[in-house]
């Protein structure tokens, strides 16, 4: 199993077209290995990004530097996956 220990999912609420453009630049940057769960398109819809633990500091700095509002939607992805897996296994046993 691929593990996601310490990975977070950030929910970003872009407030301007400039924010959207900056998020699109982020999407094109493959170095941080970001997984966009929802994509930057308009200020109407939130953008959710799965950020690997190794890139968290850099991504948060990027967002803060450009005053793009965000909050942590999932604090530790692996914890949630472990809970889900436990449920699947328990149910299979039943």
């Amino acid at each position: 199993h691929k593990l996601f220990i310490g990975d977070q999912v950030l929910r970003i609420n872009a407030e301007s077209e400039e924010h959207i453009q900056l998020l699109k630049e982020l999407e094109d940057d493959e170095g941080w290995e970001l997984d966009f769960w929802t994509h930057p398109a308009s200020t109407d819809l939130p953008v959710d990004i799965h950020v690997p633990f190794a890139s968290l500091h850099a991504v948060k700095n990027f967002l803060q530097a450009h005053k793009i509002p965000f909050h942590v939607m999932i604090n530790n992805l692996q914890e949630l996956l472990d809970e889900e897996q436990e449920g699947v296994e328990l149910n299979a046993m039943q």
């Binding site: 929802t38 398109a41 999932i74 889900e84 449920g87 699947v88 149910n91």
Partner: protein, 309 residues
């Protein structure tokens, strides 16, 4: 699991369990439901659609698929619940009875079986198919960028390592080709509905272009009524619009293909999320999600039944 009554619809299941459950559903409703193998996947797994039919030959039909993106588990789990709902409501709910008296419904619960298994065994966040990309270390094609509808255009990636890689050519993915072949050989589908997760949207074509489709006004109206029905249960808020206008330009999508081959009532759902879990919607929200989605889906199916073309 062999007993349909003991099946836990409020849980996520493996592919084997879902396939096994399909047999119990067919056994419980032999005069209504059959399991149609529409082909095999890249890794040679069978691909099935449940066919709901009360008889007739190639009656006007509705296509529904779920789970084309592997990690969107609530889409598949909701489809399991809705399959059971449709079967058990036949003969009880006049609307479902009337629908199935006139039309057939084909429901593909796991449209990307290889990807679904991979999410259970190796990478829960996997989205694509599992096909090998010649010349690349990365595997898989985004099966919702692989249809012959603006293929290779904006909103799809040519990079095999991207999660939105469109593939080497339209319908290169056997999972997509199997659906295309079924729909084309049948020739009488009147609606084509894809179920995705998440972000609470009900969309119609186009994704590959931001121009309005000729039936935009009607599709928008049907979509809004469907969302009203869906929201009536828990107040879940949905947005309605064309893919391009409410999300972003995305080429090679399934409902653009279906619309362009003449299936007017082409829609895509993005199911519920509370804004806290994304693709990891807790299992205790499966049944509420499926229940509200069923209301929206049923509204679309009723409209299709009542507006033959």
């Amino acid at each position: 699991e062999r007993n349909a009554r003991s099946f836990n619809f409020g849980a996520y299941h493996t592919l084997d369990t879902i396939y096994s459950w399909m047999d119990t559903l067919v056994a419980a409703h032999p005069n209504l439901v059959s399991k149609v193998q529409i082909g095999t996947s890249y890794e040679n797994r069978p691909m099935y659609a449940l066919k709901f039919s009360t008889g007739g030959n190639k009656r006007p039909a509705i296509w529904i698929d779920a789970g084309i993106h592997a990690r969107e588990w609530v889409s598949t789990a909701s489809a399991v619940w809705m399959a059971d709902k449709m079967a058990t409501d036949y003969g009880v709910d006049p609307s479902v009875t009337s629908l199935l008296g006139q039309m057939d419904v084909y429901l593909s619960i796991v449209t990307n079986p290889d990807g679904y298994v991979y999410t259970h065994t190796s990478d829960r966040m996997w989205r694509k198919t599992r096909s090998v990309n010649t010349g690349s270390v990365c595997r898989g094609v985004d099966p919702n960028r692989n249809w012959d509808a603006g293929f290779g255009g904006p909103g799809a990636s040519k990079n095999p390592c991207s999660d939105s890689y469109h593939g080497p050519h339209a319908h290169s993915e056997i999972e997509v080709k199997n659906v295309v072949d079924l729909v084309q050989s049948h020739g009488n589908f009147k609606a084509f509905i894809s179920v995705h997760a998440y972000s609470q949207l009900l969309m119609y074509p186009y994704g590959y272009s931001c121009t309005s489709v000729p039936h935009q006004a009607e599709l928008d109206s049907v979509g809004r009524s469907a969302v009203q029905a869906l929201s009536s249960l828990y107040g879940t808020s949905y947005k309605v619009g064309s893919i391009c206008k409410i999300i972003y330009q995305a080429s090679g999508g399934s409902i653009d293909w279906s619309y362009d081959i003449g299936i007017k009532y082409s829609f895509a759902f993005e199911l519920r999320d509370t804004g806290r879990y994304g693709f990891l919607l807790p299992a205790n929200q499966i049944i509420p999600t499926a229940s509200e989605t069923w209301l929206g889906l049923k509204h679309i199916m009723e409209y299709v039944r009542d507006h033959p073309y």
